[in-house]
Symmetry: none
DNA sequence: GTGGTCTAGACCACC
DNA sequence: GTGGTCTAGACCACG
């Protein structure tokens, strides 16, 4: 379910966080579904439990999951995180588009680029 | 010309780098124009000369500027960096769009969002 | 493993870089093998950690090693750097041969010189 | 006769030195021919006379030219510099060939490479 | 304990 | 004056 990329220079806790936000946003992990326990996942990925702990705290902070002490970590309801999630992506998009404008590209040219990305991008 | 944002968690050398890529991309700094000397800029921003040097080395590596030892740092020709600059932004855009798709947004919805960003964004 | 030459006018960080490219090219340091930590090597060579870091950054830039923050620096896969490594040497050879031609040596004479170097050179 | 390359990161005095060693080695400047005066050349190249001075001192030290106080700088006899000139190039060649050996290339492969350089190189 | 960032300040080569 | 190199040492994020 989760795999790590050794050549990725991002911190491990962030990689784990990103994987889970993807799994949750795309509904592969469904509302109220239980995430793997910290110790279990740590063993599977052969990393330190503290690292998983950090990822889970971050997911909780951003409302992707909720924690029940002694029971585990569970996927939160969509509306808990969805808006903030999309808003944060919009913010990044906004910065990138600003960069393209600064480079002198016209609005039309930018939309053209975006469209080609959306269509080519078969993920 | 250049200001630092204390609240920004990015490394200082990156903030300086970003400011200059903007000034250069937007043609405010023109080809062969001299950048402030390392020491001078360090004094103005009240940071260490080594930090500026790191920014300038990064700018040089990415072909935004060229360095003449004993003379200073100068804006490079556009075609030296422009393509790689835009390509790297496209890459980031591509990742953000992928995130939106994963969140379940349709292509039409995404283009709508982009258009609203482009038009609102009056920079 | 690594020694410095006080009489060498090259910057220390370059000497360290050169030693490692040799150790890696000659397979004495093998793929994924860990390099000494920055602090450790700095202590052994009695130089500043920043200087080692500069060497390691250069090795990373040229794909000889990859860096995992908090874990260490490791030898990269051969194909990451090999081609560019040999190409850069060819470039230098080309310049030197050009110099000999300019001095009036014939092609035959040059090949003769090269052969004698290759055979004498028992490294 | 002499031109400078602004994009060349080599020190100017070295560029000037290199140009003259080429002109002298290739017999374009002939024995006992007078070099341009320091001030004259400085004006033409729009650089500081001290810089030319440094190049000429280096040429003199390496026996490419001889200086007559109050008269000028003149091309020295071939045998004054030729041997040391060629020896220094051999040294560089030797280092490059050593690098190729370390990378695992066989003697035969190296000679092959050299031959292709010599033949392609139409300078 | 690892690398990443940053400071304060020195000395050098070059112009 | 300029940038390039180097030192000594600090603080932080990460594992």
């Amino acid at each position: 379910m989760i795999t790590l990329d050794d050549n990725n220079s991002n911190p491990i806790y962030e990689q784990v966080y990103d994987k889970f936000t993807e799994l949750i946003s795309s509904n592969i992990l469904k509302v109220d579904e239980k995430l793997p326990s910290i110790r279990e996942l740590a063993q599977i990925l052969k990393i330190n439990p503290n690292t998983i702990q950090k990822s889970y705290r971050l997911l909780e902070k951003n409302k992707y999951i909720y924690t029940l002490a002694g029971k585990g970590n569970f996927v939160a309801k969509k509306d808990q995180y969805e808006q903030s999630h999309i808003t944060s992506i919009k913010l990044k998009l906004s910065e990138n588009i600003r960069s393209l404008k600064i480079s002198g590209l016209s609005n039309e040219k930018i939309i053209e680029i975006i469209k080609s990305i959306i269509e080519e991008d078969n993920l």
